[in-house]
């Protein structure tokens, strides 16, 4: 038994649902008790799908257990077929049904349905969601893929073509990655034959072997299927994951090789919209240098994110981890590359304690780490499933390809900027023209809070537009703040510090010359340095001694 507070992955049948829901005309009959239908809301609420997942649950109850749950399954399967008329059916058991051993595969076979029926054996007590998705896709491909005589694209006078394998329902930005990579492939001269499972039909799965090669977008869900297609149908598949500029470059080169195209030409065609490289070299990004970052997610996204963090953003990767044991080896290799320790665990509390211990300046994680980050006050960007409603933005927001790299730059820098902004606000809080009671500078000079409020009405008399009214009313809302607000807190903190160590006036003046955005840190470090050495009075000397001591 394992004590679990939060879980990164659902059970394997949820992985099967992600495949079934991605497909257009495949129905999944799941032998399951009441309550397992909760999984529907993952798709209808988190992903905001407009259709229910194509899943029929047998809903057996305690009183059925002594009777005939097998008959219940057969009835449900027959009715589901009649109602939904799928082109293929998946049948299987959830964790409880696995224990009662009704053999959904055999029962469905006995129904003699006129469509392919694929039985799924998903061991719920050993495996998890991603494995379940991978196994389901693999079994489906095995059952439906039709033999095809391979032809050479050049000889046949056609463009090379590939399939995109791995995107599922409820995938982290799968929808946008597919659009991005499809366009990238078209731009470099490769046609996309089938995308699967996302939005594919059973007939599309059948014609997978018609492509020259496969693009493996998500190894977690499609490596097994890609390997089988290679063995059985001679289709090679790509190994590089197109995340980040370097990752996408490597991907384009690999595709060019598989497709028999000129790699440099392909890169030139593909890189037109790549901006993140220059954004990162631009001098305003200098402050990103060496930011200590902790990375956690599924293995593919974690490894790629760490690579981008280190080599495209100039961060220092202080920790990397994954909840997906199936790909632990890749993560361990990445950890070695970055010179840190790998954390392979699905225990949320373990991840939290590692982060607490490392105290990174940025976390690139899942929604779970976002909550850890919020508690610890560390900036965080989400890079991987498990997903949340926020991970399905209305706008196009890929992680893959060159546009994906642009998105990564924006998404990761944003929380750091917000952190810096908050820092600046805190620094400026006591400045005479920037305190909470001061009127915003864009409203003009000389507007003390109260005055602005009084002046607003006569000045903006008839014809004043709504925006001006709203702006003018702001000082009224904030006016009471200084009386009970932050000013007092600042003073009392200062007083408390005075009791232990004092700042000599010239040291205090010297501190004032230090750039505002590091001044707070300099003050804290100097006071700590002084306290550790029993220094009562901080002089200019102490200030620079401390600077030398803490300097990296």
């Amino acid at each position: 038994m394992q004590l679990t507070v939060w879980t990164y992955e659902g059970p394997p049948h949820v992985g099967a649902m992600r495949v079934a829901t991605a497909l257009r005309d495949v129905h999944y009959v799941l032998h399951a008790p009441q309550g397992d239908t909760y999984a529907d809301l993952l798709f209808t609420m988190i992903e905001r799908r407009s259709k229910r997942p194509p899943v029929t649950y047998t809903t057996f109850q305690a009183r059925d257990l002594g009777g005939d749950t097998a008959e219940l399954f057969k009835t449900a399967a027959r009715q589901a077929f009649e109602r939904f008329a799928p082109k293929a059916m998946l049948v299987g058991a959830s964790c409880t049904a696995e224990l009662i051993q009704d053999d959904p595969g055999g029962l469905a076979q006995a129904l003699n349905l006129p469509v392919p029926v694929v039985p799924l054996e998903l061991p719920s007590y050993q495996r998890k969601e991603n494995w379940g998705a991978s196994e389901t896709f693999y079994q489906l491909v095995r059952a439906l893929a039709q033999p095809h005589e391979r032809t050479d694209a050049q000889a046949a006078g056609r463009r090379p073509r590939c399939n995109l394998l791995g995107p599922t329902a409820l995938g982290f930005r799968h929808r946008d990655d597919v659009r991005e990579i499809r366009q990238l492939l078209i731009d470099i001269g490769v046609d996309v034959s089938v995308v699967a499972p996302l939005d594919a039909g059973a007939d599309d799965i059948a014609r997978l072997p018609e492509a020259d090669f496969n693009v493996l977008l998500y190894p977690e869900t499609a490596l097994t299927a890609a390997q089988w297609l290679q063995r059985q149908h001679g289709q090679p598949f790509t190994r590089s994951v197109p995340i980040g500029v370097n990752g996408t470059d490597a991907f384009v080169r690999e595709v060019a090789t598989l497709a028999g195209l000129d790699a440099e030409q392909a890169l030139a065609a593909a890189r037109r919209h790549s901006r993140s490289g220059w954004w990162s070299r631009s001098v305003d990004s200098t402050y990103l240098t060496g930011k200590r970052v902790f990375v956690f997610g599924d293995a593919t996204h974690a490894v790629a994110a760490a690579r981008v963090a280190a080599h495209e953003m100039g961060f220092t990767v202080v920790g990397i981890g994954t909840y997906g044991r199936e790909f632990a080896r890749e993560v361990r290799a990445a950890a070695e590359h970055h010179g840190c320790e790998a954390l392979v665990t699905d225990d949320y509390l373990e991840v939290e304690s590692r982060i607490t211990e490392l105290q990174p300046e940025l976390i690139l994680g899942t929604q779970m780490e976002r909550h850890i980050a919020k508690r610890l006050g560390i900036p965080c960007a989400v890079i991987s499933a498990p997903v949340h409603v926020q991970d399905f933005p209305a706008r196009h927001s890929p992680q893959m390809g060159y546009e994906g790299a642009n998105v990564l730059f924006d998404t990761w820098v944003h929380p750091l900027m917000m952190g810096l902004e908050e820092h600046l606000l805190a620094m400026f809080r006591h400045d005479f023209e920037f305190h909470d009671g001061a009127a915003p500078s864009h409203l003009g000079h000389g507007h003390a809070a109260g005055k602005a409020a009084q002046a607003a009405t006569p000045a903006q008399a008839p014809g004043a537009d709504a925006v001006a009214m709203v702006a003018a009313s702001q000082p009224v809302d904030t006016a009471p703040a200084p009386t009970h607000g932050t000013g007092n807190v600042g003073i009392s903190t200062g007083a408390a510090n005075d009791a232990i160590t004092r700042w000599a006036p010239e040291a205090e003046r010297e501190l004032g010359k230090i750039p505002f955005f590091v001044r707070g840190k300099a003050r804290r470090n100097t006071e700590r340095f002084a306290a550790e050495r029993g220094v009562q009075m901080i002089t200019v000397e102490t200030l620079y001694d401390a600077k030398a001591h803490f300097g990296r």
């Binding site: 038994m1 507070v5 879980t7 659902g10 009441q34 309550g35 409880t96 009662i100 939290e352 909550h371």
Partner: protein
């Protein structure tokens, strides 16, 4: 008693109405979901589900957000070693519980919560609970109940939890002949406090709420205690209380002005509160609620509503919507209709209301599409797909997580139904 609301003539309504009973796929949560509000209610209790990864995933998905660092619930996930007999489930459970209680010294009451897998492998959690209780008493009491989907539907999880606590409630002094009242069913703290104030104003000082907010404040009960259900889904709890000699005060449930008034009257009757006193105490709340509801009545009158089964609150909600807001009832579906506990409610429903119990979700969807109601009350799995078909929906789970009982919430409750309709009119296609 106060003649404020005329008691309905006997024989009307849906007292003996036929009910469509269905079996098939159910689109409802299992009883484990109750942990989400129960752990907020009993603030020193921990809920340990003994189950599968599915159980853990269900609770965190239903909870929606993971805002609590270490929530007061968790799952002991059974793995293949437990099933293969390589590990003894009881030893494993003892190990997990010991680790848990070491981490959380603030926990005073631990529930071992049974699940579908633990029921199917016949893991005896009651024995485990008494064993662990012996080990950890007096610091921690360990109880058990089942929230499994093969036995419980959604709110029945609370029923099972409360029923498990009833045998542990202290005995009231037998020498005290004065009556006391036990309000049964988890209510939001704010609602409980409002009711407490009303009871005080009526001079009713011997009122206790169950479940309590802290495990060391378990209500004492005895033969002079009368219980009043605040929730319609407490079948087993009621049975357990009656086994302890308590009698039930029958009433509709405290939703809307009418429901709240009749419910409070039933409470006041236990203490023989005079009509004038009752009237004085309740009239400000009644009036405020009436005003709050009127606004919504204009928008909801003559609109039709279709209930998919969810929390067993459907019948009281339907009664409120039809009698106080003038809505038409297309179908009132409930996972389970308790004829006795709902007798007062059914009597108030308009005659001929289509009632259904249980579910075959596909057939019910067919009926819903045929009825084309103005608003559909359904679970989260169905809401967006129905919206995409052009229907207006209200998530039923919000009716469980939001304070809706009592006078001060009557307007909020009505608003839960007007908001989706209003939203539709605001969004211009």
């Amino acid at each position: 008693m106060s003649p404020v609301i005329p008691i309905r003539p006997a024989g009307g309504g849906c007292t003996d109405a036929p009910v469509l009973r269905e079996r098939g796929q159910r689109e409802v949560f299992c009883g484990l979901t109750g942990i989400i509000w129960l752990h907020r209610k009993i603030q020193d209790a921990f809920f340990l589900v003994v189950g599968s990864r599915t159980c853990a995933h269900l609770i965190q998905s239903a909870a929606g957000v993971m805002i609590f660092a270490e929530p007061r619930f968790a799952t002991a996930i059974i793995d293949e070693r437990d099933l293969a007999g390589l590990a003894d489930c009881n030893d494993e459970l003892d190990r997990v519980v010991t680790r848990l209680l070491e981490r959380r010294p603030d926990i005073k009451l631990l529930f071992l919560v049974g699940s579908c897998p633990s029921e199917v492998i016949k893991l005896d959690l009651s024995r485990a609970a008494s064993r662990l209780s012996r080990q950890f008493m007096p610091r921690v009491q360990v109880l058990n109940y089942s929230g499994s989907g093969i036995e419980t539907t959604f709110t029945q999880g609370e029923d099972a939890c409360l029923a498990a606590m009833v045998p542990t409630l202290p005995e009231a002094l037998a020498t005290d002949p004065r009556p006391s009242l036990l309000v049964v069913g988890a209510l939001a703290d704010v609602v409980e406090d409002q009711f407490s104030r009303l009871f005080q104003q009526m001079g009713m000082d011997r009122v206790q709420f169950f479940p309590p907010r802290h495990s060391d404040r378990m209500p004492a009960i005895g033969p002079n205690t009368v219980y009043l259900l605040a929730q319609p889904f407490l079948t087993d709890t009621a049975r357990a209380l009656e086994a302890r000699g308590l009698k039930r005060a029958a009433a509709p449930f405290p939703l809307g002005v009418e429901g709240t008034t009749l419910w409070l009257q039933a409470a006041a009757a236990v203490f023989g509160v005079e009509a004038a006193v009752f009237d004085r105490a309740t009239s400000p709340g009644r009036e405020r609620a009436r005003v709050a509801i009127t606004r919504h009545r204009e928008r909801l009158q003559q609109r039709s509503v279709f209930f998919f089964p969810d929390s067993q609150l459907e019948v009281p909600l339907a009664r409120f919507l039809s009698r106080e807001l003038g809505m038409q009832l297309s179908e009132v579906g409930s996972p389970y209709l308790h004829r006795q506990h709902l007798a007062e409610e059914l009597a108030l429903l308009p005659e001929g209301t289509p009632l259904s119990e249980g579910q075959d979700v596909e057939r019910q969807l067919d009926r819903c599409r045929a009825a084309q109601p103005d608003i559909v009350v359904c679970g989260l799995g169905l809401a967006n797909p129905l919206e995409a078909e052009g229907m207006t929906t209200k998530w039923s789970i919000e009716l469980v997580f939001t304070p809706i009982q009592g006078y001060e919430q009557a307007g909020d409750l009505a608003e839960l139904f007007t908001r989706p309709l209003e939203r539709r009119t605001r969004l211009v296609a």
